[in-house]
């Protein structure tokens, strides 16, 4: 089974974000990491390969730095990487990003394409579904279990409020993976060493021949204005704790 997994590189969870140019963040001085929802998709791809044999190809789009995230995927067990190079990839709208990814993935003729459910930066939550549309493939989203049966998949899809649904769909297909579907592995030292010999093919995004008129534009990003006024309680941990209990008892009257 040939599996393409799309992984995005996003600012590290604890990275202090500073808005720059009004529509993005300052990228210098912050760390980047694999988008956590995508790490579940990668893990699922690796498990499917281990069970059914095949190949896992990690695809990521962005500036040079995203190669580090592809390397991490290779160290965990992906066979090779594809880097769609574009320093301005973050300015693409969801459809523009999906068209570019689809153009690169199409060349691989995969049996299965996996993505995370959304990214921790833009949070569009559309890439997987749009990829399926561009690739002309069926899809299912928020998947919690994947069963492979000869020419089709039987997947468990998460609905809201604790409900699930089994869905069957033919291969090839696109799935977006729900976070928490598996326990993500760590790269081993052996894996890290092996990754050094694995191939990362770089494709310039403009060479993919994608034409796209943006459907939407981010005018500006900003730190949200508070909807509530938070009363911060200061002092030593002991003082702050005492103040909090005092407030909850006598001001909010909830204790």
């Amino acid at each position: 089974m040939k599996i393409v997994v799309c992984i995005k590189q996003v600012p590290a969870k604890d990275a202090p974000l500073v808005i720059a140019d009004g529509t993005w963040i300052r990228e210098t001085d912050i760390g980047f990491e694999m988008n956590e929802p995508d790490s579940f998709a990668l893990e699922e791809a690796l498990r499917l390969k281990e069970k059914h044999t095949g190949e896992v190809i990690a695809v990521s789009m962005g500036p040079e730095r995203v190669k580090q995230t592809i390397k991490e995927a290779l160290a965990k067990g992906a066979d090779r990487g594809v880097h769609i190079a574009d320093d301005k990839a973050h300015t693409l709208d969801p459809l523009g990003a999906a068209k570019s990814l689809a153009a690169a993935i199409e060349r691989e003729k995969p049996d299965l394409v996996l993505t995370g459910l959304q990214s921790d930066d833009h949070g569009f939550g559309q890439t997987g579904v749009l990829l399926a549309d561009r690739l002309g493939l069926p899809h299912a989203t928020l998947i919690m279990q994947i069963g492979v049966e000869s020419d089709h998949l039987r997947v468990k899809r998460e609905l809201e409020a604790g409900w699930f649904q089994w869905v069957e769909l033919p291969l090839p297909a696109v799935l977006t993976i729900q976070s928490g579907i598996n326990k993500v592995r760590y790269a081993t030292l052996k894996g890290i060493m092996a990754a050094k010999k694995k191939e990362i093919a770089t494709i310039a995004r403009e060479s993919l021949g994608v034409t796209h008129e943006p459907t939407q534009r981010i005018e500006r990003i900003y730190v949200p204005t508070k909807t509530k006024k938070t009363e911060f309680l200061n002092g030593t941990p002991k003082e702050a704790a005492a103040k909090l209990l005092e407030k909850l008892k006598h001001e909010a009257r909830v204790l």
């Binding site: 604890d14 974000l17 529509t23 963040i25 709208d93 969801p94 999906a98 921790d120 930066d121 949070g123 939550g125 579904v129 749009l130 399926a132 549309d133 069926p138 899809h139 299912a140 998460e158 609905l159 809201e160 604790g162 409900w163 699930f164 649904q165 089994w166 869905v167 069957e168 769909l169 033919p170 976070s179 928490g180 943006p214 459907t215 939407q216 534009r217 981010i218 005018e219 990003i221 900003y222 730190v223 949200p224 508070k226 909807t227 509530k228 938070t230 009363e231 911060f232 309680l233 941990p237 002991k238 702050a240 704790a241 005492a242 909090l244 209990l245 407030k247 909850l248 909010a252 909830v254």
Partner: protein
């Protein structure tokens, strides 16, 4: 402008966020002096269409077909593409549900259009609609505008608007059946049974006080400390999704868009950053207190009381204080 709201139902029961988005759609229609229609899609949903027609709307579109009885992304996309061709809306609004996430981007793309998803609000300024959505897990928000020709698609997050603000009409809106052509061969996915996992062991919605843990709790060994605090306060222990994903607490303890929605009298968030998926599940709480090491954590946007600091120092201090009061 023509606005079309697409509602959601399953097996004849409304997804209630449909009415939140209806409230938003009515407000936008009012401000932009637009015509507002709302669509019901499924099979045997004429009663729901009739119910919807009592709301202040110009028209209700009834989209029915045998192949729409169970939701499929192909079936809904094909049917709604035809309905949009007939109704010619400029702006299509949907609630940001799991089902909408599954087909709406495809519906927009099949018309070569884009969708601004998961909006928390909008502004109408100088004749232009600006949609507001979160980025970077709620650490920033973005003003987003459509480019190019309509139709445009936007979805509103659960809790962004209030369903009780839906205006009722003076008279019933006309219900127009929209014929659609659909064949079984066009539907590639096969929806099977819908089910619930093991019965919920704990009903967090009934707890008056919740002490909720997030990533900041760091390790499963630290959970008993939070549990002790919950019990001293007379409450239950709950968690954000990552904690349940890790298996540190069972899934039925999860608060947020994929877990339970709660509104206790006190919600105490320990080491929860406040990603929007979590906040939608608890922002209706009467009083919210948060302890977090990062003073810029989005949880403080909804908190009444905040302590910026190390929860491993503050929680033991809270426990000590509560035990002292109890014994005295």
């Amino acid at each position: 402008m023509n606005i079309l709201l697409i509602t959601e139902q399953r097996e004849g029961k409304w997804n209630k966020t449909s009415f939140e988005t209806l409230a938003a759609a009515q407000q936008i229609a009012n401000e932009t002096k637009s015509r507002l229609a709302a669509a019901v899609i499924g099979k045997g949903v004429a009663d729901l269409a009739g119910e919807l027609a009592a709301s202040k709307l110009d028209e209700v579109l009834l989209i029915e077909h045998d192949l729409l009885a169970a939701y499929t992304p192909d079936g809904f996309t094909i049917a709604l593409t035809q309905a949009i061709a007939q109704a010619k809306p400029d702006l299509i609004l949907l609630p940001h549900t799991y089902q909408v996430r599954d087909f709406a981007p495809k519906l927009a793309a099949s018309l070569g259009k884009g969708m601004i998803g998961d909006c928390i609000g909008y502004r109408h300024e100088n004749g232009k609609l600006i949609f507001v959505r979160q980025m970077f897990q709620g650490k920033t928000v973005a003003d987003v505008v459509f480019e190019g020709a309509p139709p445009w698609f936007a979805t509103f997050q659960a809790g962004a608007f209030r369903a009780d603000l839906v205006a009722q009409g003076e008279s019933k809106a006309p219900v127009t059946p929209i014929p659609v052509e659909l064949s079984a061969a066009q539907i590639r996915t096969k929806p099977l049974e819908i089910f619930r996992e093991a019965k919920q062991a704990v009903d967090l919605t009934q707890a008056p006080i919740l002490v909720s843990v997030g990533r900041g709790i760091k390790a499963p060994e630290n959970i008993p400390m939070a549990e002790k605090l919950a019990h001293l306060l007379g409450g239950e222990l709950s968690a954000s999704r990552p904690i349940c994903d890790e298996g540190w607490l069972p899934m039925d303890r999860q608060i947020g868009s994929s877990g339970q929605t709660v509104a206790p009298k006190l919600y105490l968030a320990l080491g929860i950053s406040g990603a929007i998926q979590h906040v939608v599940g608890m922002k209706g709480s009467r009083t919210i207190a948060a302890i977090n090491k990062d003073q810029n954590a989005p949880i403080f946007e909804v908190a009444d009381y905040g302590i910026v600091g190390d929860l491993f120092e503050i929680v033991p201090a809270l426990i000590e204080e509560l035990e002292k009061t109890k014994s005295s």
